[in-house]
């Protein structure tokens, strides 16, 4: 048992932190957001060059191996760096679904392209009524000849507007909230009948609603088994929940760092704000909750790669629930302690706060994960 990073992991961390410190920043972020699709393709190519897109993909398929912990290290740095590139949608969600659900032929086709930065993916699983439940589903897929026909509307699929392929969950049998009867399909974004309504998100990323109107797919589009899609989706969402918890820890660390720096620099009543004990103790709470969230995020990352599914599920929920509570506390306190500067668009603090807040509304908020933990044995 140990909680230390390997030499390779330290390398990944140092490289990522250096990249976001020297070559990214708030101004770059603003430029990237204004580009078509809401992110920078050149930067994406650099992600590929640095091997980030190949993480988690086996070496014989163009990847560099590695696991969820390696990805968590990157996600933590991306949180602090406020990255807008679609790593979460393409590599985390899309990559996990293809790893777990695609046939060897399709893996051999797609994964090298993903690693090279040439393939973008999205995962469309939620619906207007589903909230955070993966099984609450009205989108239907009817068997038709050798293939299926999909009808329904999926909501808030991250970076669906720039995806080449979209993973879609649809009901092949059963009632609206049954666990069984859900199937995962990998659908070409330009398939006839598929329309993406693309929009910016409140935290500066992109998402889209995906309308499926008689979209025809063949049997090869099925990821995993027919009617067996829920477990695949759940594994991918748990992994994403663990990884956005690491991203959240990176955001919290950045907010705490900036807030402490502001308290040291800003003077009122003839002395730095940081001299006031009431403010010192609030900064301390921010620091502590950052560290506690980070601890749980890495535990959750480790557990996602273990054999024990129950432990993985539980760890993801614990980390995500903690990130929700700590994110709210740290985001609100950072804004408050920055005073008027905290509510401006100019300072990074507001952008960190928004991303952190919207992370709580991704892959299950605190209430959802507390419900889930309470339901577990």
């Amino acid at each position: 048992m140990n909680f230390t990073f390997s030499d390779e992991q330290i390398l990944i961390r140092d490289m990522a932190e250096r990249f976001f410190r020297d070559d990214y920043g708030l101004e770059a972020r603003r430029r990237h957001q204004a580009l078509p699709g809401g992110f920078c393709r050149d930067t994406w190519a650099r992600f590929a060059d640095m091997g980030w897109l190949a993480l988690g993909i086996p070496e014989d398929l163009g990847g560099i191996g590695g696991g969820t912990v390696d990805m968590a290290i990157l996600m933590e740095a991306m949180g602090g760096g406020l990255a807008v590139e679609p790593f979460l949608a393409t590599v985390v969600l899309g990559g996990t679904l293809i790893r777990d659900g695609a046939s060897p032929d399709i893996q051999a086709d797609l994964l090298p392209r993903l690693a090279a930065g040439e393939l973008h993916l999205s995962f469309a699983y939620s619906e207007a009524q589903s909230r955070y439940d993966l099984n609450d589903m009205r989108t239907r897929a009817k068997a038709d000849g050798g293939g299926f026909v999909l009808d329904g509307v999926k909501t808030v699929a991250f970076h669906a507007g720039t995806a080449d392929k979209i993973a879609v969950t649809a009901r092949t049998s059963g009632g609206e909230r049954d666990d069984g009867g859900i199937t995962l399909f990998l659908v070409d974004a330009d398939a006839p009948g598929l329309t993406v309504t693309d929009y910016p998100t409140v935290d500066g990323l992109r998402a889209g609603d995906v309308a499926l109107d008689g979209v025809r797919v063949d049997a090869e589009a099925v990821l995993g088994a027919v009617d067996g899609g829920l477990a695949l989706a759940e594994t991918a969402i748990d992994r994403a929940a663990a990884l956005v918890s690491a991203e959240a820890a990176g955001l919290m660390a950045a907010l705490t760092r900036d807030t402490v720096a502001f308290l040291k620099e800003r003077k009122q009543f003839g002395r730095p704000l940081g001299d006031f004990q009431a403010l010192q103790h609030r900064a301390t709470e921010m620091y502590m909750d950052t560290e506690l969230t980070r601890s749980l995020a890495y535990m959750a990352a480790v557990r996602q790669d273990g054999d024990d599914r129950a432990a993985a599920r539980r760890a993801a929920s614990q980390a995500k629930a903690k990130a929700g509570q700590a994110g709210r506390l740290i985001g609100q306190e950072a804004v408050q302690l920055h005073g008027g500067m905290g509510v401006t668009d100019e300072m990074p603090v507001g952008h960190y706060f928004k991303r952190l807040t919207l992370i709580d509304h991704s892959f299950g908020d605190r209430a959802h994960h507390l419900d889930r933990l309470a339901d577990m044995a």
């Binding site: 402490v260 010192q280 620091y287 890495y298 629930a321 419900d371 933990l373 309470a374």
Partner: protein, 402 residues
Amino acid sequence: MDLNLTAEERAFQDHVRGFLRGNIPPAIKRKVDLGLKLVKDDYVVWQRILHGQGWIAPGWPKEYGGPGWSPVQRFLYEEELAAASSPRLITFGLKMLGPVLIEFGTEAQKTRFLPRILSSEDWWCQGFSEPGAGSDLASLTTRAERDGDHYVVNGQKTWTTLAQYADWIFCLVRTSTEGKKQQGISFLLIDMKTPGVTVRPIKTLDGGQEINDVFLENVKVPAENLVGKENDGWTIAKFLLSHERFGIAGVARSKKQMERVRDIAAKEMKRGRPLIEDARFRERMAEVEIELTALEMTELRLLSEEAAGRKPGPEASILKLKGTQVQQGITELLLEAVGNRAHAFDPGILDDEWPGAGNDGPPVAEHVATVASHYFNWRKASIYGGSNEIQRSIIAKAILGL
């Protein structure tokens, strides 16, 4: 990063678990499980069993009688101790004075005191706080004046835990009023049998008696009982308070207490069903368990850094602060779990044995009897050992640079 135990670690765990569970005296185990009062003999008997194994001081270097365990082994040992319903090992000699003597003591002091700490022949207590020096410890006024080969000590120590059992007390005393107040403090070892030492019990809100005032009136202390240099006691005090990270968070005991929450919630009823099935209560448990797991993982992170050679730093304050918050959160869960059964007070729980022969208190179920008094008693945790406010100030200053 690997949260699984290696084969050797698992073998170690099995070995320790087997011994502890097989050798804990049932009467002591029962008291610990039910949160009943432990007396001196309970502690000493159990500590001597551990000493017989060479396991009483896992943090000490091997040359002084420690077992030479790795941080992970020590972590597992703490866990198994709690799981076996071990009483808390009395920390004053084992985790406070022992490391201080090993770091600052003379050879004569080490030879004289360390073996008697290991064997539980000497029971130590801690003389730091005074009526006028709590969080502002450095303003202490107990005077030690040099008189030939002795010091003469006058003053009062307070909140002294289990001083009624103690053979010795280690004290912070003022040997100088020159310069900054931190600079005139010395670290002195005092035999409790010396004329002029008086112990007066302080009754606590749960009805118990574990803390005391200790009065020192013209107490003659041989100069050889000075630890470190005269006026260098503040350095030693800081070392003592930050040296020991292991167990400070109380993770293993909190995990054991969460089991108790589950046991009680399985016995108590709500709306015709066991409370343990109530969704709201389960969410409350989940919230506390999230914090407990976060604390455990943070402790593991710090231990991993320590194993890699990093010196213990002010991060220990996180463990103390969060650890006590979690412990107190669990006492609240326990109290919530027993519902209105929390009302009945059986004074017999304050006796050495419960239920005693002459017990005529109200009929209180075994699993309920100590829950409320435990909640009240445990408010102390965020006050002792540097209050949580002091811990926050340490973090603000030493980590955040405010």
